[in-house]
Amino acid sequence: MPDILLRYQAEIWQAIGETFIMVGVSILAAILVGLPVGTLLYLCRKGNLLENRFVFSSLNLLVNIIRSFPFLLLVVFLIPFTRLIMGTAIGTAAATVPLSIIAFAHYSRLVEQSLLEIPKGVIDAAVSMGASVKEVVFKFLLVESRSGLVVGLTMSTISFISYSTIMGVVGGGGVGDFAIRYGYQQFQTDLMLYVIVIMVILVQMIQFIGMTIARKIDKR
């Protein structure tokens, strides 16, 4: 292992840990909030099961507002909110708040897109069996789109890593911030490149795992 990596070993491990926390929480937010919101966007769209102009427009606007904000400004804008629920606006834990919000907005769009690809016949079958909307979602839509949802979550996760990079601004840390601070701002170009290699490996792993799962569960 290169000397410089050994020298910064402790910091790098810590940064990796911080990235895992930030990205992990983002993934949770994507699944727990993004998945329902994306599903609602789909269901409330014109012509679909829960067609509802008001809910659709509101959610659509909310997601667009979040995605419109320059991410840095979103972080700043959310500081009071972050402080409210985390007690502080700085540090890795605090950084998970804006990350989670961008995460759910990001993933909800990918969920919506995946659901749009489901053949209408499947929904016909579900409805004809007397499935409630909840049952249509859980027993049909999510089953039939599951590989698309996993591919989407894989893409989102990789984006979350990229977003987490900016969280150095509020002391979130993480590998990306490490690369920027030590590598770029302190001109340790070799260190920066090593850290980027670490990030590439991380991303390759996520991509590989995600696509493998997606292929395994795709029986169509």
Binding site: G121, V122, D124, A125, V127, S128, M129, G130, A131, S132, E135, K139, F140, V143, E144, R146, S147, I217, D218, K219, R220
Partner: protein, 244 residues
């Protein structure tokens, strides 16, 4: 049991069903025939409100379907089984799961589900394909899964859109036997769309002929009975040589 009153359904400018009225009696097996594009599938889809008519009313049992609450409509649909022309299986569910889902929706207790699924798959001759996914099945096997799914929940009404379109004569006989059995045993009302006159003639009691979105005529017939058959390839040879 099922009554359509002056039902019209348009797709854009095209009128698929025009001012149709039809009564299907409780417990009968009713055939629906007509040229391709005559509106048969649309008729079936209107009967469980999968297609919402532009005008007219639909009675299933005693009450108008369109006036029911969502919950009541769902309950009504659970008692109406449907076999789609294009099967509409869930591709990411196994054969077993595709059939089981209709039992789950009807809140059948878990331990009963498994037995019932097996029983239905045995009916259609697929008990050994339980763990396959639809993409691994032949056309006829897919169709049989769709039939098993529709039967699983012991519906009061069964809407069948070309249920035997991909099935060889033996399997067709077996499926028709199953349909007639549940009809006799449970008094199920069956509406069957088919382009195969043999199928219609073998089990239907009344037949409606459709033409360009309207009903041309409804005639009672004497069902001829389901021809005997077995699964052996000799049958094919015999039949080829018999009445050529």
């Amino acid at each position: 049991m099922i009554e359509l009153q002056n039902v019209t359904k348009k797709f854009g400018t095209h009128t698929a069903i025009q001012n149709v009225s039809l009564t299907v009696h409780k417990g009968e097996i009713h055939g629906l025939i007509g040229a391709s594009g005559a509106g048969k599938s649309t008729m079936l889809r209107v009967m469980n409100l999968l297609e919402i008519p532009d005008s007219g009313s639909i009675y299933v049992g005693d009450r108008e379907l369109t006036t029911r609450s969502k919950r009541e409509l769902r309950e009504a649909r659970k008692r109406i089984g449907m076999i789609f022309q294009h099967f509409n299986l869930v591709l990411n569910k196994t054969v077993e799961q595709n059939v089981a889902v209709s039992l789950q929706l009807a809140q059948v207790p878990k331990h009963q589900q498994i037995d019932r699924v097996r029983e239905c798959l045995r009916f259609v001759g697929l008990e050994d394909q339980m763990d396959k996914y639809p993409a691994q099945l032949s056309g006829g096997q897919k169709q049989r899964v769709a039939i098993a799914r529709a039967l699983a929940n012991e519906p009061e009404v069964l809407l069948c859109d070309e249920p035997t379109s991909s099935l060889d004569p033996h399997t067709t006989s077996e499926i028709l036997t199953v349909i007639r059995d549940i009809h006799e045993r449970l008094g199920v009302t069956v509406i069957i769309v088919s382009h195969e006159m043999n199928v219609i003639k073998s089990i239907c009691q009344r037949v409606t002929v459709m033409d360009q979105g309207t009903i041309y005529e409804t005639v009672p017939i004497e069902s001829s009975g389901i021809p005997k058959s077995d699964r052996s390839p000799e049958r094919f040879i015999k039949e080829l040589k018999n009445d050529a």
